[in-house]
Amino acid sequence: MNLTTRRTRLAAAALAAVVAVGGLAACGNDDDTPAEGEKPAKLVVDTFGEFGYEELVKQYEQQTGIKVELRKTAQLGDYRPKLVRYLATGRGAADVTALEEGILNEFKANPGNWVDLTPLVADHSKEYLPWKWELGKTPDGKLLGLPTDVGSLAVCYRKDLFQAAGLPTERDQVSALWPDWNSFHQTGQKYKQATGKGFVDSITAVSNGVLFQQGTDLFYDKENNIIADTSPAVKTAWETATSMADISAKASTWSQEWFGGFKQGTFAATFCPSWMLGIVQENSGEENKGKWDVAAVPAGGGNWGGSWLAVPEQSKFPKEAAKLAEFLTSATSQVEAFKAKGPLPTNLEALQNEAFLSYTNEYFSGAPTGKIFGEGVAKIEPVHLGPKHQAVKENALEPALRSFENGQASKQKAWEQFVKDAAIQGAF
């Protein structure tokens, strides 16, 4: 290759690079707003985890002729930053977007990003669990999201470990062991005496369970003033959780110790919303099949997780998107989704459905999970979650509890840590 052609080629390559960069900056100006009444060619749905919408979406396509693209993100932790990016840059969001309980509140704090669904869908306000319906609304009454699923709460326990410690193993008898948290603690102490091992995975799991049973304001009052340091519900959860430190395996949820603990049997009981069953199964492995079972949660009720479907303001087809969300959250769709992937229905009619109530889980010793969780759903007490609920819980309450659990701080010092951090994390 002689010098001149090489030079020309290099110049061409450089030019191409410049053009490519310029092109990148230039593209993306596709603000072609559709004409009024025009039917969309395609609607996009964003979900995380498993919502069980694959078959439902196909049905919708056949009924309406509108193509639906289902975008799934495996974990909520990866889903939230994407959503933030879409909203911050004003482009890229799906027409129908799933919002989880923990992140709903912070997105609610900026209601301008979302379409008010009230005029776009029929009145469903009486068809769902009332508290779930209310949480989908902004403080000024705008309908932000239609309810999808709820976590509910039960206790997953190891039958073989219970037997080794001389405790009953049959699920009704186990549920009868702990009508309240005090008796749960006593059962744990018996287990600990017999085996020398931790009974429950961590005290943060306990506090999480207790918090959502209170049915009152948690970290915020109704006017969204932060009341973490004076809230009776938080204090109850704190006292109950800290009292359990002696029966804790100190394996906090999602930690290495926790994942490993399922196989190693470092704890005999953990708290299970319905979506947790799959995670317990995956981490315990095939060799522990039939060793787990599901019992009622102490004191009854409680909830962990659950979502809504919302329509971002940037959607070009808010009307059609709202109709799609309405379809996906209907009673029949919720039963279909439960049968496909297990998210618990929130529609009152779906909760009475025969197929739902008779469902049993083979891995968990054939436990009638439809019935157990369905009963749990009815006992869930509505709670008010403020705008930064998740941040206060994860970055203030739980670290303080773990500091106490691991002996890094006295109970008093840990509480002071919580009060201080709650003020920082809760500000908005």
Partner: protein, 321 residues
């Protein structure tokens, strides 16, 4: 760096031709000579402008606002910076960053110097194999490294605690204290970057003329003396480069401590190993309504890196005299 600055061979310009098309070609050729160099370097500067300079200036602008990532924003001047100076958790993150930096950079560079010196021996067999092998840790994805090391440093079933139990050390809760978490994180960083620094130092050592060593041998200097009086002074420019790179990397440490702490952004229940980059992420990205404050943290990190690099440069240069 005279090696890389090879000048293009002088082009043989033909004698000025008389006819018009040829003159045209001549003009193009002159334009080519005059302007095409700018075109060649343009891709870097254009890309740097878009992905380097613009985000930096934008971050500076953001840091002067009370900025909600998905909501309102208002100009507040330097309030974010005055708040930052009084922020206990910012200083905590700064201490953590410097602690982990010291625990990783110092042993890392010493070890890299030692290894590079070994690999530079003429007598070593299978040189290429060792030089390749030492670089392998750097190729492994940082997330994979952090996850594996997180398992090694697990409290109940971790290999490190298991090994320590043979010498009578009690189970260590690695993420429970400052010293232990810093050690664990520094171990990951060292494992990943020692090989990289070794190769750079090795390249520096190979540029040292061999006759210097021969002359020293004739004068009766042993290997140790040769290392201190020839190798070290001669690789000093490379050493500055390595130290500055390590400083930048150390100040931006993020993935290792984040994954070590099970992905929790506050890094330990009492923020024992939350680094500056993690604090920036907590304020700027995880907390949607403090994006402006996060931008201020980002600029603070930038200023600290600039200061540290200057300090490094001065120290290493001064010790040369």
């Amino acid at each position: 760096m005279s090696l890389s600055a090879t000048t293009a061979p002088p082009s043989h310009v033909p004698p000025p031709p008389e006819d018009a098309p040829r003159r045209r070609g001549h003009l193009l050729n002159r334009l080519d000579l005059k302007y095409s160099p700018y075109l060649y370097i343009a891709p870097f500067f254009v890309l740097f402008g878009i992905f380097g300079l613009y985000p930096m200036l934008r971050t500076a602008w953001m840091s002067l606002h009370d900025w909600d990532m998905i909501g309102d924003r208002s100009f507040i001047g330097i309030d974010n910076y005055t708040e930052l100076i009084a922020d206990e958790y910012f200083w905590n993150a700064l201490i953590n960053t410097f602690g982990i930096f010291a625990l990783s950079t110092v042993p890392q560079i010493l070890l890299a110097l030692f290894l590079a010196n070994l690999l530079n021996r003429t007598l070593l067999r299978a040189k290429t194999f060792f030089r390749m092998a030492i670089f392998v840790p750097n190729v492994v994805s940082v997330a994979a490294v952090a996850i594996v090391f997180g398992m090694l440093f697990q409290r109940e079933f971790g290999v490190v605690n298991w090994l320590l139990s043979f010498v009578g050390v009690d189970q260590v809760d690695w993420d429970g204290q400052r010293w232990s978490s810093w050690t664990a994180i520094a171990t990951m960083v060292n494992w990943r970057w020692t090989g990289y620094n070794t190769l750079i130092l090795l390249a520096g050592m190979q540029a040292i003329p061999k006759d210097l060593y021969e002359a020293a041998s004739i004068d009766g200097a042993g290997p140790w003396r040769q290392f201190w009086q020839i190798t070290i002074p001669m690789v000093r420019p490379t050493l500055i480069f390595v130290v500055i790179l390590s400083t930048i990397g150390g100040m931006q440490l993020f993935t290792e401590p984040l994954l070590f702490g099970n992905g929790r952004i506050i890094g330990g229940d009492q923020r024992e190993f939350q680094t500056l980059a993690m604090y920036m992420y907590e304020k700027g990205i995880e907390n949607l309504n403090t994006a402006g404050y996060g931008a201020a943290v980002a600029w603070a990190i930038f200023m600290i890196i600039v200061l540290m690099s200057l300090l490094n440069f001065l120290l290493v240069r001064r010790s040369a005299k």
